[in-house]
Point group: C2
Chain length 412, copies 2
């Protein structure tokens, strides 16, 4: 595996691409910039962020499911154009197909949609068209909506996870009675993302405010967290926008304040996406393959028994059974790999490449000595340990030096 | 609320539509047949089904995220057309917009996509194009993939939840070495859906096999569960398809069997969708509003204190505090509604309309007698109960007469 991986020093971009493909995290689909994501566990990141967001906010945002398609008319509603998004969008028209999914779709070129539709690049348009109906009075505020969704942006250059035409994200949209409250929400979510990146993903980030030209179109201020890739380039890892009253004015979203006067609401939006998976890879991984923080690894420990025949394999299993049970009782996820069609050397390479945080090997010598060999992936250090209290020691190895945000927030 | 609800006897379709909108379950978006779904809890149905599916299968399907867009070329791959889907599809081309989300999108009419793209109506095309790379040998089988996704079908007549242009669903796609194993999988999933509908949603269903003309295009057999609406019409609530070798042949997915001969794999696919939310509504609800099975209700118990002033409200709170704590300790979700801007009568109507399974009222008389009034939504029966052991009694009320599938499967 690792020997087929391009070295970072030779070609950083190629190293990244090789790694994502060879570690089976994702693959290209038939449409440029779109992908099939295989390791769904990694993509729960956004949902974890939502949970953290909920907790920190102290009030649970309502979860909504917003439609993928919206009309051109609606998206034009705000008035004349004032800028240009870097991203493109899809425009669709609907056709009755003359065929079926197994034999191929042939669309009818004469059939046309009554109106052209936009595939969402983000959901502000739909949200603010919807909020107009939901917000009447100060009692309806703050209004906090969150969704986990797919969006499409026609990027010129795409890279798996880091920049794809379609990506998944968590997008929050909030409406507030005052500017101060909206600014506070914007800053709160930036802090939530910072905590999540640093304590859960172990990705150090720099917080900042975007310049006017880099700002999200429609925002008064765009706050962001930026991670650093190993080639020294910055990677935007999450954004939180203070939208002022721009969307409220464009979509005429007003509320009656306590004095019964009509005011436009103040808004924020914020999101992190599957790009965080890319950030995770470029932050931790090395020329030997993936490196994953233990909290995030789908399986934390791989155990490789070294046995020449079925009888020896049974002996190793018996020897290791108490340690295995003890680890599992602690909630550690362990794979005991007794596949006899693969050699131990192949397994070592595989688990190293796939970023299992801890790999344990058990040979005949170990069984005589009451030991096992423990290798940690991040530092590549190997250590011989007693099997008797192995679970405690492995638990310690897997514990991050800082408490994870989940733990420190009490929502582990 | 309920007085503005059309009676079922007067206009069943209108009753349904009123109910969905007035109970805030969903609303129409700006695109025909698309909706904003507000009560996300109801839409976790599909994900519950996935969990049940995993358990029953005894082997966890891999979770995947497949792209929304695929190329026309790919969807034509199978050869000449052989039928016509009832559903339409979207065809897109991509354009760089000249504007931003707050001020409206203006697409450039001169920009065109290099190729036309299809928004998925289902994912067989992408799955089978992907499986070609994943399946090499009998050791790779069975291959079980599941995803929770949005799909688009251009329906002529749409109804919230029951038939929408975009809907969310759980779609499973499996590949097997033999016909027998694939048929077994098809039947197993039909049973999973049956159990889920009957024991979790409390929806009685009839299992059956579709006629050739109703069959999913590309399937050799389509099994389904059908629920019955209160107007006596059937509602297809879930399908499980035996696909034979059709997709494997169209996409050239072959494997080396144990004798090292190349064979096409055998396939199934199966899905349940947000339509189940519609099925739930039309099965249980009545002229007074929503009725929800306790397992599914976002909040199971609403408590309405009857108090004339802040002092009385405090007294009711103190009186009810032990019962409230005891219910919550049992995992019962309870809303204690001390909002003094709404009258108790308004609250009674609201909770009845929204389908809270149990509503408790506490008046001055109750406090003297050590009682509360308990109303159950399904039968509309009211009962005076002692407050002392209320939690046990409410727990009993909320318990379904049959064990839920989650419980009986040990995964509650």
């Amino acid at each position: 595996m690792a020997d087929k991986l391009t070295k970072r020093a030779d070609d950083y971009a190629q190293w990244y691409n090789d790694l994502v493909l060879k570690a089976d995290l994702a693959e290209h689909s038939d449409v440029r910039g779109c992908m099939v994501i295989e390791a769904a566990r990694l993509c729960d990141l956004g949902e974890d962020a939502i949970r953290i967001g909920r907790y920190v906010q102290g009030h649970r945002p309502r979860e909504c499911i917003l439609p993928t398609l919206h009309s051109q008319k609606l998206s034009r509603q705000g008035g004349q154009p004032c800028g240009r998004l870097r991203e493109g969008m899809c425009r669709g028209h609907t056709l009755p197909p003359k065929s079926d999914p197994v034999h191929g779709v042939v669309v009818d070129p004469t059939a046309k949609l009554e109106e052209e539709l936009i595939i969402r690049p983000t959901s502000e348009t739909i949200i603010w068209n919807t909020y107009r109906g939901w917000v009447k009075s100060y009692r309806d505020l703050p209004l906090l909506i969150n969704q986990w969704a797919n969006v499409v942006r026609w990027e010129m250059r795409t890279r798996l996870f880091l920049r794809t035409a379609e990506f998944l994200w968590q997008e929050g949209h909030t409406a507030h009675a005052t500017r101060e409250e909206a600014v506070e929400e914007t800053e709160r979510m930036l802090q939530v993302y910072t905590t999540f990146a640093e304590e859960y993903l172990a990705i150090p980030v720099i917080r900042g405010v975007k310049t006017a030209s880099e700002r999200f179109a429609g925002a008064e201020d765009t706050y962001c967290i930026e991670a650093m890739m190993q080639d020294g380039k910055a990677l935007q890892a999450g954004t939180s926008h203070f939208l002022g009253q721009n969307f409220a004015k464009a979509f005429d979203v007003v509320f009656a304040n306590k004095e019964n006067q009509q005011e436009h609401v103040w808004a924020t939006s914020w999101g992190v996406s599957t790009r965080l998976v890319g950030a995770l890879i470029v932050t931790h991984s090395d020329d030997n393959g993936l490196v994953l923080p233990p909290k995030l690894a789908p399986t934390q420990v791989a155990v490789v028994p070294i046995a020449k025949n079925a009888e020896q394999m049974e002996a190793v299993k018996d020897y290791f059974a108490p340690a295995l049970a003890a680890m599992r009782a602690k909630g550690i996820t362990v794979k005991f790999d007794d596949d006899d069609t693969k050699k131990p050397g192949w397994k070592f390479a595989e688990y190293e490449f796939k970023g299992y945080p801890v790999r344990i090997a058990i040979g005949p010598q170990d069984m005589e000595n009451g030991t096992v060999e423990v290798a940690r992936r991040d530092t590549m250090e190997k250590q011989v340990m007693q099997v008797i209290d192995l679970a405690e020691k492995v638990e310690h190895l897997l514990k991050p030096s800082k408490a994870t945000s989940s733990e420190s927030l009490g929502i582990a």
